[in-house]
Amino acid sequence: MRKHSVKSAAIVVGVLLVAGACGTNKTETGASGGACDTSKGTLSIGVIAPQSGGLSALGLGIKNSSQLAVDEANEKCTVKGYKLVVDTQDDEANPAKGAQAATKLSSDPNVVGVVGTLNSSVAQTVQPILSQKKIVQVSPANTNPTLTRGEAFATAPKRAFDTYFRVCATDELQGPYAANYLVTKAGKKKIAIITDGKTYGEGLAAEFSKQATKNGATIVATEKVGEKDTDFAGVIATIKAASPDALYYGGEYPQAAPLSKQMKSSGLNIPLMGGDGIYDDKYISLGGGDGDLATSVGAPTDKLDSAKAFVDAYAKKGFKDAYGAYGAFSYDAANAIIGSLATALNGGDWSESKRADLLKAVGTYSGSGATGSIKFDEYGDSTNKVLTVYQVTGGKWNAAETGEFTG
């Protein structure tokens, strides 16, 4: 009897081992999977991004792409002696939830760095919390310029947090780049602006407005909508009275898409243009129509040679959700942290005191990623300033122009 129970216990343990191995094998594709020395334990890469709510389409892409980078690092034994895992925290695109997520991650001594956030407004509450614990944060998606260079980013830039980096271009480039396209290239001279009042939308629209005016366009109306609004008939009638020939929207697709649809069905047939916040397939399925425009950071992922490997690897993993607008950036952000971690540890042991070394390593990191060369300037901004204008044609986003903002 006793022997029997030992035997069944052994079977249970065996089954658990197999199940556990399957669990990890699922995320490892290479033949060398599991062959690395992981005797020193497990380190986490935190991810803070919306996993639920209106913006989850973007946030899930961020999570999966970070996961992909971590899996590849585990296969290649990039960080000697350690196994890496992703610790994802949902911020629901909400600054208060973001602060909770950051506090949770920063209480874990094994969290080496954080990929995130998606929203600039969430970054504002996350930055100081991670900074206190010297945890490096690399954002794939925050485009508000104040996050790196402070309030007076244009006149007297000053590094806001030495723990904060980002791999995407910022709104003081994105807004004007959009203005150049819309005013100079598409010839729109009477532009209405609507924003959602959040950090990202306001900043983007302000930068757009400056450059559009400089290019000779008139801003005929400026309005705001609420983050939870669904019926935009009122605001549409207001801007319609000013008879604009284009609408610039500072905000994200959950509001932009119905706004575009309602605007067109109310007889105001003008293109809506927005930033990277509306550049997602969800924008089209929720009502964004042909002719609408968006700028986004970087070159189109599916056209870049450097991104090919990423796109293929992502497809091979069979994630349920698309990599989205920030997938390639998240992959690069995670790789910047992992690569710098390998440099900082140099085969040594991790402890919280190594965080300062890791920060230094990220600051001098230089690699070639899916979105091009990954390097940071003295403020933590990416040196890659490429932007792309996309247009909806035939019910799909298509790249219209790629370049750098040159004034």
């Binding site: 019926d231 009122g234 929720l286 009502g287």
Partner: protein, 305 residues
């Protein structure tokens, strides 16, 4: 001038939607003095019920024939709303019937959060907004400078018709009389042979049916639904009920149209534009409550359904 007329039209459409939901708030309050904060979620659930019906029940061949698919979708939405309201009444509110009034109020908030999260987690892809089919005549009604979508016209028509029908039902029918009796004095009504449980269940059912209709028509009008929509619209509906005098059917409808109009007109003409339109709604509410604390149609001519 044309902008003013357009904004008035927009305001009436918004008011019609709010009215359908406000009726549920006011009826339940009239009967059991409960502000059912989960009522906005009943509206949201109705929209998802309608979408589910359209996706899985309406046969592919008639999906584009609105006069076939719209009634089916409406029935589906109303059925889901009513089912949820019945469960809510039976398991959340009835056990607290004799508890202090704060207990069911807090429970209502809990039910509201529960329903939102439940739909978000278990309806396929409901973590983000979902497109809703336009199951009605597409296009716009154009009268001079005014353009209103046909689905907006439908919303106004249905809202007015159902409000009148409800008012008539409560004033004329036997069950309506039982409802008014229970509202006035539940104990005496019981002595007269009125079954209070039946009256309360009926009240929840009527309110939920209206909210279910509102949910489906909202989706048809805006072609987009999300799990937050009940909260936002519910706040307006609750405000409309208070403005009109909680417990009064006529008050809820009038309050709803006032709120719809104030929102669009303030967005157009008041300083701050659309950024401050909510502010003006609540300014109006405060002004009304200062001079008429019982609301526009509250006591003494209270209908108290």
């Amino acid at each position: 001038m044309s902008t003013l007329l357009q904004q008035l039209a927009n305001g009436v459409v918004q008011g019609a939607l709010i009215a359908l939901i406000a009726l549920g708030y006011t009826m339940v309050y009239g009967i059991i003095q409960l502000i059912n904060f989960a009522h906005g979620e009943v509206f949201m659930v109705g929209a998802y019920g309608g979408l589910a019906t359209y996706t899985w029940i309406v046969p592919e061949s008639v999906k584009d024939v609105w006069y076939v698919s719209l009634p089916i979708v409406l029935v589906g939405g109303v059925a889901v709303s009513v089912a949820i309201a019945l469960l809510m009444e039976r398991f959340a509110y009835r056990p607290l019937r004799n508890a202090p009034r704060l207990a069911p109020l807090i429970t209502a908030l809990g039910v509201s959060v529960f329903l939102q999260e439940f739909v978000r987690n278990f309806y396929p892809n409901a973590t983000a907004a979902l497109p809703f089919p336009g199951v009605f005549v597409q296009g716009q009604l154009v009268i001079g400078p005014i353009r209103v979508g046909w689905s907006g016209i439908l919303l106004i028509g249905v809202s007015v018709l159902l409000s009148i029908a409800l008012q008539t039902y409560i004033n004329r029918s036997r069950m309506g009389r039982a409802m008014r009796a229970t509202a006035q004095d539940p104990d005496t009504a019981k002595l007269m042979g009125v079954n209070p449980d039946r009256v309360i269940v009926l009240t929840f059912v009527l309110g939920a049916a209206l909210a279910g209709v509102a949910g489906v028509l909202f989706g048809t009008y805006l072609n987009n639904i999300n799990t937050d929509m009940g909260f936002q619209t519910g706040i307006f509906a609750f405000t409309a009920a208070v403005l009109g005098g909680v417990g009064s059917i006529r008050g809820a409808v009038v309050g709803a149209f006032i709120i719809g109009l104030v929102k669009t007109l303030a967005g157009q003409y008041m300083p701050g534009g659309t950024q401050y339109d909510y502010v003006w709604i609540f300014v109006v509410l405060i002004l009304v409550l200062v001079f008429r604390p019982q609301g526009l149609f509250g006591e003494p001519e209270r209908v108290r359904a």
